[in-house]
């Protein structure tokens, strides 16, 4: 469910970057107040664990689509919302930097969709309310299920709204919602089951962890063993189960997009508004709010130079220019490398 740079506009990306940065600072300050020293390596390990778990995709039966663990809910339950949010943010940052999962500009969207909703909405409002101070097996199952589903539904809603506001993809809001929400309901149910299994195991092995989570504990955990054992067992079960399902199918987001990408054909290029005003507007629109439905109008401001114009001459010039640009870039690169390797030798 990672948003990609290709799907968003700078305005949407920037706004959510700001939101994510603010939340990160807020969480960090909250955590600093009562940071348990032992929590730092624990957070790192759990991040790596989630990271590995997210790499395994499972198929959702009968849809031909697949999803992977968000993991936000497990983290929130084990670490409390603030630490969990930081771990999710770090996991997504590494994914964006090293695997191009999402992208740097879309990082804010992803942190918001996959970190904020589970940690700050679903966990405190659903899971805490249902499970309360004295967890039981049934309550944990119910709470984890409901919270995971809600978290994912909100995340999917976030993806839809961000895509819609960005206007890059030609989607009708309602159709996109109708595709995204049911898929993520299915993913949410699976995620809920897995979350519940882990949490109840941890609860049995080390109940203290769960009751302390919402207010980061001052108590030091000297032995990690029961907890480690629980996580290991979960890994065994999850690894076994999920790998059965692991698939190369597109994940939920891709599947929905495929189904929805608009059917409307583009209107032919209009001869748009010319003149100085249009030219200035075009030049000033460094971050244009480009609307997918009317790219021609925006382009019309560019007068004759506009690319999407059916004209063999212009196309030829474009291709010629493109070839020259690429050649130039190649020559510069080659020259620089020669120059620097000479300088070294």
């Amino acid at each position: 469910m990672h948003m990609a740079d290709a799907l968003i506009s700078p305005a949407v990306g920037g706004t959510l970057w700001a939101a994510a940065a603010g939340l990160t600072a807020f969480s960090a300050r909250k955590l600093k107040k009562n940071l348990d020293e032992h929590k730092v390596p624990m957070m790192g390990v759990l991040g790596a664990f989630i990271f590995a778990a997210q790499m395994i995709n499972f198929t959702i039966p009968a849809t031909g689509s697949s999803g992977h663990l968000g993991g936000g809910m497990i983290l929130a339950i084990l670490l409390g919302p603030y630490a969990a949010f930081l771990v999710m943010a770090s996991v997504l940052t590494i994914q964006a930097l090293f695997f191009a999962d999402g992208g740097l500009l879309a990082l804010g969207c992803n942190i918001f969709n996959l970190g904020f909703f589970p940690c700050f909405i679903a966990y405190p409002l659903i899971y805490r309310k249902i499970v309360g101070a004295r967890p039981t097996q049934g309550r944990i199952l119910l709470g984890a299920m409901a919270a995971a589903i809600l978290g994912l539904q909100l995340g999917a809603l976030g993806v839809v709204l961000e895509t819609w506001f960005a206007g890059v993809a030609e989607l009708s809001l309602s159709t996109f919602l109708l595709l995204m929400l049911p898929i993520h309901l299915a993913i949410g149910i699976v995620e809920g089951l897995i979350t519940a299994a882990v949490v109840s195991f941890v609860w049995k092995a080390h109940p203290a962890i769960l009751t302390q989570a919402p207010h980061p504990p001052a108590v030091r955990v000297h032995s990690h063993k029961p907890l480690l054992l629980g996580l290991a067992l979960f890994a065994v079960v999850a690894g076994g189960m999920l790998c059965w399902f692991a698939s190369t199918h597109p994940d939920g987001l891709e599947w929905s997009l495929k189904g929805v990408t608009g059917r409307e054909e583009l209107a032919g290029p209009k001869e748009g508004v010319h003149g100085v005003m249009a030219w200035i507007q075009e030049k000033l629109a460094f971050l244009p709010d480009y609307d997918f439905r009317k790219p021609e109008e925006e382009k019309a401001g560019q007068k004759e130079e506009s690319w999407p114009e059916v004209s063999p001459g212009k196309s030829l010039a474009g291709i010629l220019g493109a070839a020259m640009t690429l050649l130039l870039a190649g020559v510069i690169g080659f020259g620089l490398r020669r120059y620097y390797s000479h300088g070294k030798g």
Binding site: S9, A232, G239, P250, A267, L287, F292, W307, G318
Partner: protein, 270 residues
């Protein structure tokens, strides 16, 4: 499993690339980080049907790869590895958007193909910029830059710890996989049971080791701050790097250079 293995191996190689000493690597990480962000925003802000306008941006990765002595083939493979996602989303444009946008002699090219090419071009540019940032800087330095620029320390530390443990996890996993392969005569189809035992074992070992690493760090005087050997000094070339590239990006965003070039060349030919 194969995917995880190769992906994590690649992380290690990216890290070793960042240990080089080149003009690129010597730049202040803050300058590189900011320039990368400006680059990505400039690329993403281009219109949906933009192709020629995007091409000049290739100069940035090309120059950085040349100056930073980075292996272009390796980076290209890494980009290809991540490509299926963007490809899958983009490939539906040609199916849905069939209005002819460009006429090349007898061949008409639909808007869908143009926007698809634009998406792929954008994808290549943004991904290569991010990869070059890591290969030319290293995650530690990027994290230091983040902290200097005001990111909360606990977040930065969390990223560093996570990164550290990913390496630990990889090494263990590779050893397990290799040991199994040696004992099973390259038998295909890792059994369900074996696989789950391996993962469980891996997690136990990793947590154990994480604990040991933490203790070792504590006994060496770790008190919540990670020190890097290279202190950060913003020098004039760092500022010049950032301002120069940003100015170029703005210029390339405002003027379609290939079209201007092409028109000029076509004019000359006539």
């Amino acid at each position: 499993m194969g995917k995880i293995e190769s992906a994590l191996l690649n992380i290690g190689y990216l890290e070793t690339l960042s240990y080089q000493q080149t003009p690129l690597h010597r730049l202040d990480p803050r300058a590189k980080l900011l320039t990368t962000l400006v680059f990505i925003v400039a690329v993403v802000s281009c219109g949906k049907y933009e192709i020629t306008g995007l091409l000049p941006f290739i100069i940035y990765p090309v120059v950085l790869i040349a100056v930073g002595n980075l292996p272009p083939g390796y980076l290209a493979r890494k980009i290809l590895l991540a490509a299926p996602f963007a490809f899958f989303i983009g490939i539906f444009n040609p199916l849905l958007d069939r209005a002819v946008l460009v006429q090349l002699g007898p061949v008409g090219i639909s808007g869908g193909w143009v926007s698809f090419a634009s998406i792929m071009l954008r994808f290549v540019l943004t991904v290569s910029a991010a990869l070059i940032l890591i290969a030319g800087t290293g995650l530690n330095a990027v994290c230091l830059a983040l902290e200097k620029m005001g990111a909360p320390r606990s977040f930065v530390m969390q990223v560093l710890f996570l990164y550290r443990y990913i390496f630990v996890l990889t090494d263990e996993a590779l050893r397990l996989v290799r040991a199994r392969a040696l004992r099973s005569f390259q038998g295909r189809g890792m059994g369900f049971k074996v696989f789950s035992y391996m993962i469980g074992q891996l997690l136990l070992r990793t947590l154990d080791r994480a604990h040991r690493i933490h203790l070792a760090m504590l006994s060496r005087g770790f008190e919540g701050k990670i020190h890097l050997i290279r202190p950060l000094h913003l020098r004039s070339q760092d500022v010049a790097f950032f301002l120069g590239w940003s100015a170029l990006f703005v210029l390339m965003r405002w003027y379609n250079i290939p079209l201007l070039l092409g028109n000029a060349a076509a004019g000359l030919i006539r």
